[in-house]
Symmetry: C2
């Protein structure tokens, strides 16, 4: 294998998760093992930082800081949703890479980010600039194709299941068959996240909360929903509804309170959860509908993240470096590959960036029970290993302590670039 | 001291907290130490369970279950908001006590619950029925008078501060000076809970999130609020707002989106957080306002509760039994008494139930900074000891495991009672 000597650049893109920094820690930790890697740089705010030559020296960060990245939520390097549009943008990226002798580029993100990485990789090949590009999967949405699951997903559903179980203890204490607890979770195009709340049920207790899971995969009918709520309240002291924000009706329109305008002509706020709350209060007088909107809290909840997920995120970062350095791989994304035995194991594999960029993994319909509001045993068997174990987040003075990068800037070599 | 031989009855009342079950565990554990106590009963759903003679045998629960109560959120005995109204209700309570030889009554709750306990105690005295009644403080609202603080408060602000710190990592990653993160927390009549989010700031980092704390104690002005948000966004990448649900305007009216009706004449849902979100989107076009509504999750978050708070809740339960048995105290509530030294210590004391029932502890105005949206060092010094330490909640298969009482019913001795 010809050795490629040069520098590493790592970046983060898209919405953060509670474990995406663990992947960066994995990249840095592994990069230090390889003598062909001279410098380890980070780009601030993904491709935006590349265009603007906003690079930092990650090798200059203390070891404590890199270790603390493993349990720090958010994206420590900053992230962006910027899409490279013009050919000039791509040319600029390559200019910056050449100016800083970047020979290894690792990009953690979802579909769009892997698409960007793919295009950068292809351009480098065209121009004969030797560059190895490896994507690292990241998304709480769990919707990347080929990989068995995505780093970030296990942690978000562990936090949500924990929250559902806790709130249910509270609901049970007050419950007089008149309480509907609605918990709105993320997931605009697929129900992976809402579905994961099924883990709150104890084994062999199908009547445990959550009683109703509203998924974007199942066309929403208000009649059926109210019917389901009434059925649960007849049996249980309270009814727990978990709803994904991407709920749609039979016509494919988002079910959301914000479709309406109020008496003053202002857009009414609130998403699917708020809509369901209004529906219950309007159609079931006397019923109390309580809403929890977890929002950003769910994808940032490092204090309740999954050790399995965290370890796999770190492993994906390490693997990206090894594939690039030891196997001269490029233009691929690291995938997570589940072992075939009953005992859960997880290894890494590779898939072409272009296939990741253009694919999406839907929640299999056969994993949704016939009632449309609960999940099958196969689904539970799939997600259960992803939430195992707890991460020991250090607390100081009663609150968790997270990493703060020093962010030593690399001297700019090029003239400024207009975005 | 004359020994009073008989049975114990313990009950829970009002909104649950993540540590109110620790107080019940304290009562049970301590009661077992005293030979004058024959049986340990629990009442299901507070005074409702007494009226209906719905009593359970707590001594019959396994030791594992009682130990697990220490980290189980909600109210394991069930709770209620029922107020005894008629004289018949009070007479019935005493009848039930006599029928089951209840000589010790411990009631965990807030003002209303302590008022109920006080009236039961007074009636027993009038009728010459020897009964010792001790209240146990419980409320996330921290608004009971005399006691230095209330079990439940430390845990709710630990969870909220943790959440603010985590979400801020996420916000910082995306922040382009155009993001306002609103986090709505509980606290209808006082700002104790919202104020506690100040613990998310690192020491000597006054510009850390939360940047703006909206308290019911400070009359809300939309002009000032927008001004504050703009000031923060000019300086920081994002602006974090923590708002207590009880926000009021200069006329004392709740600031809430639900004051309005929509175009269809339906009441618009959403509270103070939803209102602020609408305000920002209307008055600061281009700004993204994101809302997290923690709702019940905050008072049920056992997995992120405070060890100090949990220990004190347990201690309050133990102390209630000791005061009643060893010192023949009655008609009082256990208080938490802070030591006078710099090193935090906490002991128990007693206060008359009637004084607790009729008092309320406001958030001292001098603890709110002049800007009206941040807290003073004295406040931080007051709350810091209350969030110290983490509770080791056992996880099984990736989710926390909580206690489930067997609830062995005590045979009813009396005819049914119409509520």
């Amino acid at each position: 294998m010809p050795e490629l000597v040069g520098n590493v650049l790592v970046g983060q893109s898209g919405g953060p998760t509670s474990v995406i920094n663990a992947s960066v820690a994995g990249v840095i930790t592994e990069a230090l093992n390889h003598s062909c890697i001279e410098e380890i740089y980070g780009t601030l705010n993904g491709v935006l930082g590349i265009l603007q030559e906003d690079l930092i020296d990650l090798a200059a960060e203390s070891q404590q800081t890199i270790r603390a990245l493993r349990h720090t939520p958010g994206a420590a390097l900053g992230t962006c949703r910027y899409k490279l549009k013009k050919q000039e943008d791509y040319n600029r990226v390559l200019e910056v890479f050449k100016a800083h002798n970047i020979r290894y580029f690792f990009y953690a993100g979802g579909n769009d980010s892997q698409d960007t990485a793919d295009k950068i990789s292809k351009l480098a090949q065209q121009q004969g600039y030797e560059l190895r590009v490896i994507g690292i999967p990241k998304t709480i949405d769990n919707d990347l194709p080929i990989t068995d699951h995505c780093p970030g997903y296990g942690s978000v559903i562990k936090y949500i299941s924990t929250t559902v179980r806790e709130i249910s203890c509270d609901n049970a204490a007050m419950g007089q068959h008149d309480l509907v607890q609605i918990i709105e979770v993320m997931g605009r195009s697929a129900g992976w996240i809402a579905a994961g709340s099924a883990l709150a049920k104890r084994r062999d207790c199908p009547n445990d909360p959550p009683h109703i899971i509203c998924l974007p995969e199942v066309a929403f009918s208000s009649e059926k929903f109210i019917e389901n709520v009434k059925r649960v309240l007849a049996r249980e002291k309270f009814c727990t509804v978990v709803v994904g924000e991407g709920l749609v009706d039979a016509d494919g329109n988002y079910v959301s309170a914000s479709d309406k305008t109020d008496a003053f002509g202002h857009a009414q706020l609130g998403g699917a959860g708020s809509y369901l709350q209004g529906l219950i209060e309007a159609q079931m007088p006397g019923t109390k509908a309580r809403l929890v909107t977890l929002g950003m809290a769910q994808r940032a909840a490092a204090h309740c993240s999954s050790k399995a997920d965290n370890d796999e995120s770190f492993m994906a970062g390490q693997a990206a470096v090894r594939y690039a350095v030891e196997e001269a791989e490029t233009d691929k994304m690291v995938t997570l590959v589940r072992g075939e035995t009953d005992h859960y194991t997880c290894e890494t594999g590779l898939a072409p960036l272009s296939e990741i960029a253009n694919g999406v993994k839907p929640l299999p319909r056969e994993w949704i029970n016939e009632d449309g509001v609960s999940m099958s045993h196969q689904f539970v068997r799939y997600v259960q290993p992803l939430v195992q174990g707890e991460v020991a987040v250090p607390f100081e003075n009663g609150v968790p302590v997270f990493a703060h990068l020093d962010k030593n800037r690399i001297d700019k070599q090029l003239p400024a670039y207009q975005i």
